[in-house]
């Protein structure tokens, strides 16, 4: 028989696709996806419809932007709850069930196994986003910017991939599936809530007392310096998605706006460049602040790529060292 040689240390797209298709098939057979995706869609639909009816009654303006803001943030929050479960037991679960070693002795390389597993988990996460596309189109029909919707969904998809990669890495590093599962949720918690808490603490710690002298006399004033610690907020997925959404330049006097994405983006930018809001002669807000999302997206990309590299290294055989309590099989 002819031998089908693989690159010695390499990566072959077909190999990764073999793993990804296999993992995807296992996922489809294992779960009750129709029910899960149905519940996902219905709850997001109810939310979007709720926002719409609340706004349509109170306002003249078209509610699409606000509908999409609420939809996007809720969807991101729910997805961050679902996604760690997709990858956090991928490697150590296989090892526990005696499936990993037989995979490693095939001609599949560590990179192909790791990237295939990541692709399957990431693909599943993207299925959740895709399920919500009809709702996003509804928002566009109600006046949301199509570009804004597309960019937000795209950025969210990238960020979910980062969470998948971190979870996969934890499953490759840790022997126990429960530990890697818990730590994956902690990682999501650290990114989405921990960054905010640390930012607030850092603002409190970096505030200074300055002495001001005015006509009324000399007095001391406490001054905060969020511009020194704004980068702590940057890796937050909510802030990245909100800030990356292209700004809608609408008249500021058009009534009460919710636009949650825009509001969060503004808060983040004002932390980076405080006191720079400009109102030009025509009364239109000049959005001259520096964006936060490029830093956030880059830091997430580094996190995700680093996690993938560690995963590949942990799958390399022959093993030199094994963690305690791990049996190779």
């Amino acid at each position: 028989m002819t031998r089908h040689q693989s690159p010695r240390l390499g990566f072959n797209l077909r190999g990764a696709l073999t793993v990804a298709a296999h993992e995807f098939r296992l996922r489809i057979r294992a779960g009750r996806w129709r029910w899960l995706l149905g519940a996902w869609f219905l709850s997001l639909f109810a939310l979007t419809a709720g926002i719409r009816s609340a706004l349509v009654r109170s306002d003249q303006i078209r509610p699409g932007t606000d509908m999409f803001g609420g939809l996007m943030l809720t969807m991101l929050a729910l997805a961050l709850l679902v996604v760690p479960a997709l990858a956090a037991q991928s490697v150590n679960g296989d090892r526990l069930r005696g499936l990993l070693a037989t995979l490693q002795t095939t001609l599949l390389t560590p990179a192909e196994i790791a990237i295939g597993k990541l692709a399957a988990a990431w693909g599943t996460a993207i299925v959740f986003l895709v399920t919500a596309i009809p709702l996003a189109l509804w928002c566009v029909a109600e006046g949301a910017s199509g570009l804004r919707v597309a960019v937000s969904l795209g950025i969210a998809a990238v960020l979910l991939g980062v969470i998948c990669s971190i979870s996969l890495c934890l499953s490759a590093v840790l022997a126990r599936t429960t530990t890697s599962g818990v730590l994956s949720y902690l990682a999501v918690f650290a990114l989405s809530i921990g960054t905010v808490v640390i930012f607030v603490l850092a603002v409190a710690l970096t505030q200074t007392t300055e002495t001001r002298t005015t006509e009324a006399g000399t007095f001391e004033q406490t001054v905060t310096h969020p511009e020194r610690v704004w980068w702590l907020l940057a890796p937050n997925p909510f802030i990245i998605v909100a800030d990356a959404a292209p700004r809608t330049l609408e008249q500021p006097d058009a009534g009460v706006r919710l636009d949650p994405l825009g509001a969060i983006g503004e808060v983040a930018r004002s932390a980076r460049t405080p006191g720079s809001t400009l109102v030009d002669s025509e009364g239109i807000v000049e959005l001259g602040r520096q964006a936060v999302w490029p830093v956030g997206l880059a830091s997430n990309a580094v996190l995700g790529a680093g996690a993938l590299v560690i995963t590949i290294r942990r799958l390399r055989t022959p093993y030199v060292k094994l963690p305690k309590t791990v049996r190779v099989g």
Binding site: M1, R3, H4, Q5, S6, R8, R14, G15, T18, V19, H22, R25, L26, R29, A30, D94, R97, G98, L99, A101, T102, L103, Q104, T105, T106, L107, L108, T317, P318, Y319, V320, L322, K324, V328, G329
Partner: protein, 311 residues
């Protein structure tokens, strides 16, 4: 299989050592597994059999020693070794929701067998291990023995020339065991090198024609079954009409023996002369002996002799 590879020995290992922290799993193993033979790897639990097989299967790096599998170093040439080696671990999982055919087609894909060849290969293997009627059945619906056979088929998917089988007969019914024996002998006859670990000695005796004994991480002896030494001490089984006087006699005579049961008593004797002497003494003392014969197999006797100092 190309001619150049065929000339190389299946497996050559010398001075292999592998530790896990302070635990020495394999201390010093030297063995060779020639092509055309089934070699048994025999030793007590914890002797290092599974660890040794993991080293040969390119999963563990040995701390020391020289290893060649199908002519290649499993550490530096793992791809070459993997493309020629079929490994069946002692315990392995199966993708429960896939069918038997899908499991084999995925394994074929993982060995980079072209897509159009995979279905035929899967069916060939299913027929080989007599699972063709279960091809479309999900693996979770298969019995333990059927899964074991599927695991064997999986290890054969890329037509390896070296087979590493860790306890392959565990969970197999008698018919499957006999078929496994036929399969392994067939592979050997085709020029494969087959290494089988087990502690079911009576079974290995019918499968293997060579044996490597390992104990506490060391290879102790390597020989063909035909040249197994007549063991120094081996068990004999004595049955008497009345076990009472027999036990009194054995104690008095100073013969090492086990507890009596329905099939008699096992005594440990050094050589045929000792057996003849004991039988004569029993008859002389009027013990109503019904039967007196060597117990166990030659392999078992050799195994017991080699691991004797553990007691």
């Amino acid at each position: 299989m190309s001619a150049g590879v065929a000339l190389a020995a299946g497996i050559e290992a010398a001075g292999v050592r592998r530790t896990f922290g302070n635990v020495v799993a394999v201390a010093d193993v030297t063995l060779s597994v020639p092509r055309g033979h089934v070699t048994a790897l025999v030793g007590p639990n914890g002797a290092g059999k599974t660890t040794l097989l993991l080293v040969l299967a390119t999963l563990l790096k040995p701390d020391a020693g020289r290893v060649r599998v199908a002519g290649f170093d499993p550490v530096t040439d793992s791809v070459e070794v993997r493309s020629r080696t079929g490994w069946m671990p002692d315990s392995f999982g199966t993708y429960d929701t896939l069918t038997a055919r899908e499991v084999l087609e995925f394994a074929a894909a993982a060995y980079r067998i072209p897509r159009q060849l995979r279905p035929r290969r899967a069916w060939e293997l299913l027929a080989l291990v007599h699972l063709d009627e279960f091809a479309e059945r999900p693996v979770h619906a298969l019995s333990r023995g059927q899964r074991q056979r599927l695991g064997l088929a999986r290890a054969l998917v890329h037509e390896p020339t070296v087979l590493l089988l860790d306890e392959p007969a565990a969970g197999l019914d008698p018919r499957s065991r006999i078929e496994l024996r036929g399969l392994l002998r067939g592979f050997a006859a085709q020029g494969c090198a087959v290494l089988v670990s087990s502690h079911v000695l009576s079974e290995l005796e019918t499968i293997a024609d060579r044996v490597v004994f390992v104990d506490r991480g060391r290879s102790i002896a390597e020989q063909t079954l035909a040249e197994l030494p007549r063991a120094e001490r081996r068990p004999w089984r004595v049955r008497a009409l009345d076990p009472g006087p027999l036990m009194v006699f054995l104690d008095h005579h100073g013969t090492e023996h086990g507890p009596p049961d329905a099939h008699g008593v096992e005594v440990l004797l050094s050589g045929d002369e000792a057996a003849a002497e004991l039988l004569a003494a029993m008859v002389r003392d009027g013990i109503p002996v019904v039967s007196f014969a060597p117990a166990g197999s030659d392999l078992e006797a050799a195994y017991l002799a080699i691991t004797e100092d553990r007691q």
